[in-house]
C-alpha cells in the first residue's frame, strides 16, 4: 500500500468537499481493513491503473448521498434519482481526479476509470484487498473513503 498516495486521496477529498458542498469535514480514525467497508447504500467506485493499481470507493448511506447531491444540484431531490446518482459519481470523480493529478505531477503515472455508482441494501464487496478506510464526517452525513492502491512490481 502506497501510504503517501492514500494521504493525497484523503486530502483531495476533504478539500473538494469543502469547496463543492461547502461543508466543514472531520476525519475520524483511519483504519486498515482486509477489504473495503460495505454497508452503505450507495457506493461510487473508481478504478486506478498505471504505475500503481487499485480502486477508490466512496461509500455512504442514501440519505447522505441525497443531501450531498441536493447541495450540488441546488434543489431538492426525491431519493436516489438518476441525477442524484450522477452528482455522487461526479463528486467521486472530481476528488479522484484531483488526487491522481497531484500524483502524476509528482512523477508517477496513474489513470482513473469513469465512476460507477451502485446502490441498494446490503451491498457487499467480495474482492478482498487490503484497504485503508477513512471515514469523513460532513454536514450531510458520513462518507467512507476506501482506498486500495498497490505498486505494480
Amino acid at each position: 500500500m502506497r501510504l503517501e498516495f492514500v494521504k493525497t486521496f484523503i486530502d483531495s477529498t476533504t478539500h473538494l468537499f469543502r469547496e463543492v458542498v461547502c461543508s466543514e469535514v472531520e476525519i475520524a480514525s483511519i483504519r486498515m481493513r482486509p477489504s473495503p467497508v460495505a454497508g452503505g447504500e450507495v457506493m461510487a467506485i473508481i478504478g486506478l491503473m498505471g504505475d500503481a493499481q487499485g480502486r477508490v470507493i466512496f461509500d455512504m448511506d442514501s440519505r447522505t448521498a441525497t443531501r450531498l447531491a441536493e447541495c450540488m444540484i441546488g434543489e431538492p431531490a426525491e431519493g436516489l434519482t438518476p441525477m442524484v446518482r450522477s452528482a455522487i459519481a461526479e463528486l467521486a470523480s472530481m476528488a479522484t481526479g484531483r488526487a491522481i493529478s497531484e500524483i502524476n505531477d509528482g512523477g508517477v503515472s496513474l489513470k482513473m476509470s469513469p465512476p460507477t455508482v451502485i446502490s441498494g441494501a446490503n451491498i457487499s464487496y467480495d474482492h478482498c484487498l487490503e484497504t485503508l478506510v477513512a471515514p469523513i464526517t460532513t454536514a450531510y452525513g458520513e462518507v467512507r473513503v476506501n482506498i486500495t492502491i498497490q505498486d505494480l512490481k
Binding site: 473538494l16 469547496e19 463543492v20 447531491a69 450540488m72 444540484i73 438518476p82 441525477m83 450522477s86 452528482a87 459519481a89 461526479e90 470523480s93 472530481m94 476528488a95 479522484t96 481526479g97 484531483r98 491522481i100 493529478s101 497531484e102 502524476n104 505531477d105 482513473m112 476509470s113 469513469p114
Partner: protein, 140 residues
Amino acid sequence: MVNENRASVAREPLNCLIVDDSAFARFRLRRLMDSLDHCVASEAANGNEAISAYKRLKPDIVLMDIVMPGLEGVETVRRICEADPEARVIMISSVSYRDKIEEALAAGAKCFIPKPVTTEELKKAIDKVMDKNEMLDVSC
C-alpha cells in the same frame, strides 16, 4: 484601431456543445452557459457522440471532459480538430496534471479549466478563446 473597451462589450450568444459522460456535469455546465446568456446547442455523453454532433452543428465552442468511457476527451479533441482546425475546444476536467494539459493543447484544445469550474472561470476561458480568434482578424 484598437478597441480598448473590448472587455466591456457584451458578447453575442454563442452556440455550445457540451461533452461529458456525467449527466450532472452536463446539467451544471448548461446552467453556467445559461447564466452567461449562451445557448447549449447540444450535449454528448461520449467522444463518438461528440464528433457526430460537432459535424452536424459546427458549434462556436465545445466544452470537453477528459475521462469518458470509450473514446476519451483528448482523442476526441484530436479528431474534431483534424476535421476542423478552426474548432474552439475548452477542456473541463478534474484530471489536470501538466502532461495531460499539454497533451490536450497539442491535440488542439484552446484552453483548460480544472473542475469544479465557476461561472467566472468559464467566462474568462470563453473570452480568451473567442477574443484570440477575433484579435487575429483585427487590422490596425
